[in-house]
Symmetry: C2
Subunit: 201 residues, 2 copies
Amino acid sequence: MTGAAGPIAEAPETTNGSRTADEASAAAHLAPWRTFLLAHARITRRLDEELRAEHGLSLAEYEALLQIAYAPSRRLRMSQLAERVLLSRSGVTRLIDRLVADRFVERVACESDARGAEAVLTELGLERLRAAARTHVRGIDQYFLSVLPDDELDVIEHALGEVADRAGRSAIADFPPDCTPDGTATPTTAGERSVIDAGRP
Amino acid sequence: MTGAAGPIAEAPETTNGSRTADEASAAAHLAPWRTFLLAHARITRRLDEELRAEHGLSLAEYEALLQIAYAPSRRLRMSQLAERVLLSRSGVTRLIDRLVADRFVERVACESDARGAEAVLTELGLERLRAAARTHVRGIDQYFLSVLPDDELDVIEHALGEVADRAGRSAIADFPPDCTPDGTATPTTAGERSVIDAGRP
DNA sequence: GAAGATTGAAACGTCAATCTTG
DNA sequence: CAAGATTGACGTTTCAATCTTC
């Protein structure tokens, strides 16, 4: 397990029975991460497809409408919307452009701060949102919530909350906890480590 | 909890003390899903930023190189690559275009099937991959694996595997398990249900 | 005709620069 | 000058159409 050769080792196909034990432990270690990626990609795609097919809304558009609907007076400042839908400011500007073109939202100047703009949900937008919500709730239940027992959902919520929190702290500054200049980094993800170590004599 | 008014109810601000109990149970029910989205967005962005900054590779490019490297003879058919990196066929064509331009990959005709093309990792590509793998492994450890105890990782892997599986089955056909034509759907995601129910007299 | 791969057109998102207002 | 929002230029990804080979 130490001098892991793995599939990226120098010798093309065999060095000494690599591709069995190493490969297994590698896959096992990376598995949670790849499963996480796969689950996200699949569900997200499903929800998006179903919303488009049944209501002509992308998932991003739906989530924007929902966030606006949840805000007081059904209106929300652009930058706050950006935070809630995980998009850049300019991304939100353009998303709202589309929703305005569809008459689901109106863009109005902010009274208290003339620099600001607010997105206000229209009656038409609310109707569309209500219809789309059925589809979206059904999808989340079908593909996520109803698939898992409550205790597993609890673990996921807690664990991924921890994860999101860890990844959310300042981009720079908490960088080199296990990354040393001389290359004595301490990666523990066995699978890809073979990629790293393979080049060493 | 039944006639939930929620924040999307007809009356602008009050109907009967909505926005406390309803709001709380709504948020609680949706929380695992939103946490899942947030965690994915944050980690993915971090990994991508770090790979770009330290090695000039996007996360997608890195993952493509890795998949090719893991394949026998370090070569992979385009369509197989598409499956493994969760991209469309045309997406992969263009991704490989970039990697070819960077000299990390060569595109060669498939011997056994003249329709096919294979992406072959170059020596330069392997070197870059090895360097980048350090960064990537460090990131996954730092933001994901090392954040969680093993038993939670096990739950996540198992649970999200289940989820990915459920969302991976045929797009059509397994649609209407809890969606009836007359609108008696059974959404259980309390939060957004208020959006749905609010319009009813 | 079906499958593998590529291409053109378009959708969507980001960064950097800009404009306006605080 | 800092903050909110928008715009222009650009990169990436997808869909639909196409070309080639099975």
